[in-house]
Subunit: 343 residues, 2 copies
DNA sequence: CTGAAAGCGCTTACAG
DNA sequence: CTGAAAGCGCTTACAG
């Protein structure tokens, strides 16, 4: 049963040529007489020969594989990013390995190590929250081209970063609520050890100040980028803060789902009693009733951009100035935000 | 800049030993004197040495990599399956490559080919709709252990299959609606060239017959497993079929979202005017208001089961009776189904 | 147009 | 406990 697959030597023997000749046929390189080519192709057919990429890669010192490491594969945001990365890479004959860290630094370090062992050509990495491991140095020491995606970390000066404009995103969401007349606006951000969590909160603060509203520390909360976190903080707020805010702003789609659920559970009408606006959308496929006012990044474009940068790094390793690419965001107004009720 | 990574020879030279000795240290195999081990480990540190898995795999004739090929990476059902696969495989020190076909046979064939070239140890495959390519023969000819997931195809007798019990699922969903008193029940299935689409419809038919209801061909429609398909068919039904059905049954989560959206757009109250029940849930993280009555499979368990079977195939290649593993389904009743309105 | 030799980085099988 | 030789499957660089 477990017969061995045929190798280039088997084909060569059968076609009565040297292995290198088979190689030339398979790769369409160099000159081959038509007659020889046909004999070789016949042998390939008969033996079901499939070239061994491991051996090719070992010889070429190049695998044509890159990896994309994200923090949460269950978030459609990241699967859409993955699509963008994959489409660009495939167009360049590069395969993409997709990895998921669950925000755990150890998983990230593990993956990077593993992928370097597998001689990956390049990496696109979303760092885990508060990342402080040694992977970066390691990658530099081993000359692995890489792009950092979505989040910046203090000491990553040596890498090109592709990310959304989180400060502006937080700013225009808050401005939208302020323009509707809200003054008590609560922000549920993600982790304070992730740059996007901090920057979205910073945009919120800037908008408030611009409108002469003094930020109330009780109304800015950091948590996690999860449904549970959004739910818990919203419930806590409803129970403890008086007067309640008239609007809530969440820093990603999962937090928004949790917050909306909490408001529902407590019978709070959206937007009648509290307006709800969020960063990042839910994909239309999963969302029969798009309801939340939202600032969207374009995750597909983000993936494309990151992949394009990486491909450039790989092919043209000379010209790689380190850049900080900041992609634009856009506001979509829906039914979940309205002027505050008159009291 | 693009200095080469260090190899086992570099380490050996530095530690003044033979490469094989370094290999023994790295792999913890054979006896090494403490003193030699320390010298080698120091050299490994200093040179930032990382073993090259390509070379190891080439030598071992084993990559410790398997692949999971699904039809739609944007469906949370499949990302959850992926989790199950990954967790089981990682526990066995096997890495998983995750691939997506978009239901396109050509992409599937491409991936299988590519993965075989990369000397993948095994495959878990969700066949694309109406699959009729040559990949199967190819895989058999090249002795690639594989598991077929979720869907059966006519001539796949040589492979173990892991799938949900679609006939029963369709049956209990329909029975639930019948028990509520519905008699005009419409089924929106997926593709008729996918076994799950056919079997869920078959379950529907059986339940109807059991309750003495003659299946109305106008009320059974095949389409695609997408939101668009669910939307279009529902709109068409609302415009053309009189009297309208009092209940709709959809064959997966995406179709349900489309159908729900269509009913909303036409101002049809669920379940007041039409009850809606579906196969497969939306994940809680994305769903602030779980509303649809649903038959669920356990996608995580499905992934685990498939991975477990594959691992067994890989480690114990002697004992591999071909099996058809059918996993149970379960009904969850929510607010989207109710008795039909009295007329 | 075709091929023999050497080597990519590692490890098996044998020796000592 | 350590090492020299050979080979995994392929391709580069050289020859003819």
């Amino acid at each position: 049963m477990s017969k061995k697959r045929s190798t280039i030597r088997d084909v060569a023997r059968r076609a009565k040529v040297a292995p290198i000749t088979v190689s030339r046929v398979v790769n369409n390189s160099g000159y081959i007489s038509t007659e020889t080519r046909q004999r070789v192709e016949a042998a390939i057919q008969e033996l079901n020969y499939i070239p061994n990429t491991l051996a090719q890669s070992l010889r070429h010192q190049k695998t044509n594989m890159v990896a994309l490491i994200v923090t949460d594969i269950t978030n459609p945001f990241w699967t859409t990013v993955a699509r963008g990365v994959e489409d660009v890479c495939n167009a360049h004959n590069v395969n993409v390995i997709f990895c998921n860290t669950d925000e755990q630094q150890q998983k990230l370090d593990n993956y990077v190590n593993l992928l370097m062992q597998r001689q990956i050509d390049g990496l696109i990495i979303v760092p885990t929250e508060g990342y402080a491991g040694e992977m970066l140095e390691n990658m530099l020491a081993n000359h692995v081209p890489s792009i950092i995606l979505d989040r910046i970390l203090p000491d990553w000066h040596h890498h090109t970063v592709v990310r959304g404009d989180s400060v502006t995103g937080g700013y225009i969401l808050t401005k939208h609520l302020l323009d509707l007349g809200h003054r008590r606006i609560m922000m549920l951000s993600g982790s304070s050890s992730v740059s996007t969590g901090l920057e979205r909160a910073e945009g919120y603060r800037r908008a408030l100040l611009e409108y002469g509203v003094t930020p109330d520390p009780a109304l800015l909360r950091f948590g996690k980028f999860t449904q549970q976190s959004g739910y818990d903080i919203t419930i806590e707020m409803l129970d403890r803060i008086h007067p309640r805010p008239t609007a809530i702003l969440t820093a990603n789609n999962f937090i928004a789902v949790g917050s909306q659920k909490a408001l529902d559970d407590r019978g709070v009408d959206i937007p009648g009693e509290i307006s709800l606006a969020t960063y990042d959308d839910l994909p239309a496929q999963l969302n029969p009733r798009p309801f939340l006012t939202t600032v969207i990044q374009d995750p597909y474009a983000m993936g494309q951009e990151a992949a394009q940068r990486l491909i450039t790094l790989l092919t043209d390793s000379s010209s790689h100035p380190i850049q900080d690419i900041v992609l634009p965001v856009r506001l979509i107004i829906r039914a979940s935000t309205a002027p505050p009720r008159q009291t």
